[in-house]
């Protein structure tokens, strides 16, 4: 059984009070909370294990290096890939930048790069910069009127327009919709396009088997997966990954340096210049272990139950517009109340102890498409409950009363 009481007890932050009321945290799409094991790992590292890695000739450094490399194995296991196909970065944003930059010499003027209209800015702007740099063209994959990436249509679009790179999200941060990746990746394979999947939102909720998904690249942020801030990474199919242009340069990533020339190491080392986020990586292992200790089906079932309940309860309130798809959703619900500004709603909800996010959620193109300035977003994670939904609904009704 999915023991939600036990799980909630593992997350110290959920015990906070806000404005004199128990916190109801519905902003996990922005960042997730951390289980005690992750926090303890950080404390333990800095108190008893702190050392730089890959460099020392002493016990602390050896142990830190071993744990650091062990973390890569844990994560490889989580994603079902090889350790040397995983690169640590400071977050999903850096991961996408690393890939977009690394593909520079593989593209030429006139080539096309495809993204969708529901991407996070992190999966838009780096591609805009790339195509600008090389005189390539950015094209936009079709979405349905309810803002879902239509896999079949996309596949056809890809085979027709033949982009060299296709970069799409596995799940939308604003809407929560899960993309049906299989037909899209098949289409990429058919035309030899490189597929880049933004897994920032999906990596925790969907525990993706990347061998099965069979994409070329997949990016994630640790802080959205129960791990610490300042850490993320990417998976890359080894040969392709290794063939990317180097991104940052400096210590650790080199084999030899003279004043006139340098040789770089193989992936993943090639992409990890400088001292990494050692404590972050080691603590993140605990997050991965925590996630894998849970039965995946049960976790998803629980998340689904809470999400569906939230959709049902929200829909029952007069004047609420929900923008998110009701099925096939990781658990992010974007909505508005009549013409009220999401800022006002979110501010009042906060007064009741309910933490949601309002705004454009770094997806301005979606907002343009919907002709709105923003939404209120309630996003759920494995530690949320139906009681959280009830608290949201009560607070929402009270807030509406204040507004009306």
């Amino acid at each position: 059984m999915f023991d939600i009481a036990k799980i909630r007890a593992d997350f110290p932050l959920l015990k906070q009070q806000i404005n004199g009321q128990p916190l109801v945290y519905l902003d996990s799409a922005a960042t997730s909370h951390k289980p005690q094991a992750v926090i303890d790992a950080l404390t333990h590292f800095y108190s008893a294990e702190n050392a730089n890695v890959h460099r020392g000739r002493h016990t602390l450094s050896d142990n830190a290096t071993r744990k650091y490399e062990q973390a890569r194995k844990s994560l490889a296991n989580y994603f079902q890939v090889e350790s040397n196909e995983l690169v640590w970065t400071k977050g999903a944003t850096e991961s996408i930048n690393l890939i977009a930059n690394g593909l520079t010499s593989k593209l030429k003027a006139g080539d096309k790069v495809a993204i969708s209209a529901i991407e996070h800015h992190a999966n838009i702007v780096p591609w805009q910069q790339l195509v600008k740099r090389i005189g390539a063209e950015l094209i936009v994959l079709p979405i349905t009127s309810d803002l879902v990436i239509d896999a079949q249509q996309c596949a056809e679009f890809i085979e027709q327009h033949k982009p060299k790179v296709v970069a799409i999200t596995h799940a939308s941060n604003t809407l929560g919709n899960i993309t049906d990746l299989a037909p899209i990746i098949q289409a990429c394979k058919n035309i030899n396009a490189i597929s880049v999947i933004d897994g920032a939102q999906a990596a925790m909720h969907l525990r993706p088997n990347l061998r099965e998904i069979d994409c070329d690249f997949y990016v994630f942020s640790a802080h959205k997966m129960l791990g610490p801030t300042g850490l993320g990474g990417l998976y890359g199919r080894f040969e392709l990954l290794n063939s990317l242009d180097a991104y940052q340069t400096g210590g650790e990533m080199i084999e030899t340096v003279s004043l006139t020339q340098s040789n770089f190491r193989e992936a993943p080392g090639k992409f990890e210049a400088g001292t990494p986020n050692i404590a972050g990586v080691i603590a993140f292992t605990e997050a991965i272990e925590y996630l894998t200790s849970l039965n995946f089906q049960q976790m998803r079932q629980h998340e689904h139950t809470v999400f569906s309940y939230a959709i049902k309860q929200l829909s029952a309130i007069d004047g609420i517009t929900i923008y998110s798809q009701h099925h096939n959703n990781i658990g992010n619900i974007s909505f508005n109340y009549k013409n009220e500004h999401p800022f006002d709603l979110a501010t009042l909800l906060d007064g009741f102890g309910v933490a949601v996010r309002s705004g454009h959620h770094c997806t301005q193109p979606i907002m343009s498409q919907l002709s709105i300035s923003g939404t209120v977003r309630a996003s759920f994670a494995l530690y949320n409950t139906k009681e959280d939904v009830d608290a949201l609904i009560t607070a929402l009704k009270n807030s509406i009363e204040l507004l009306d």
């Binding site: 500004h341 007064g351 705004g359 300035s373």
Partner: protein, 137 residues
């Protein structure tokens, strides 16, 4: 303390609980004189806010006083804006520089809205008005 501000803040001070306080703030916003569309130029738009906030700021040389107008597409920010206008509108630069909006917001239990993090533009507006007052003094 100048009296237009005292008049408008009385209800906020007397509010029972935060809900009533917000209700009063939103009420204030509703009572704010309509900002002429002609004044809603790009220059008057406060940048980096989640809500849209305009602040028009001018100086009446004959009266030696600050002339302010503003608007926002959110109710709460508009109410806070009304407070700011009540605090500064029509003051001489000398008077304006003697006003500490932080202290007033603190007193009203609204200080968190003046924090840099809020991104609601209230802090930016206060800074802008104070800069104008300094300049004209």
């Amino acid at each position: 303390m100048n009296s237009p501000f005292q008049a408008v803040t009385k209800d906020i001070e007397n509010a029972a609980g935060w809900q009533q306080k917000y209700r009063q703030i939103m009420l204030l916003g509703k009572q704010l004189p309509v900002m002429p569309e002609a004044l809603k130029v790009d220059d008057a738009l406060v940048k980096g806010c989640e809500s849209k906030v305009w602040l028009y700021i001018d100086f009446d040389h004959t009266e030696n006083s600050l002339v302010l107008a503003g608007d926002s597409d959110t109710r709460i920010v508009k109410g806070l804006l009304a407070l700011i206008l009540a605090l500064y509108n029509g003051l001489t630069p000398q008077q304006a520089t003697q006003i500490n909006a932080y202290d007033e917001f603190e007193r009203l239990g609204l200080i968190s809205h003046l924090s840099p993090s809020r991104g609601n533009g209230i802090k930016a507006m206060v800074d802008k008005i104070q800069a104008m007052a300094e300049q004209k003094r």
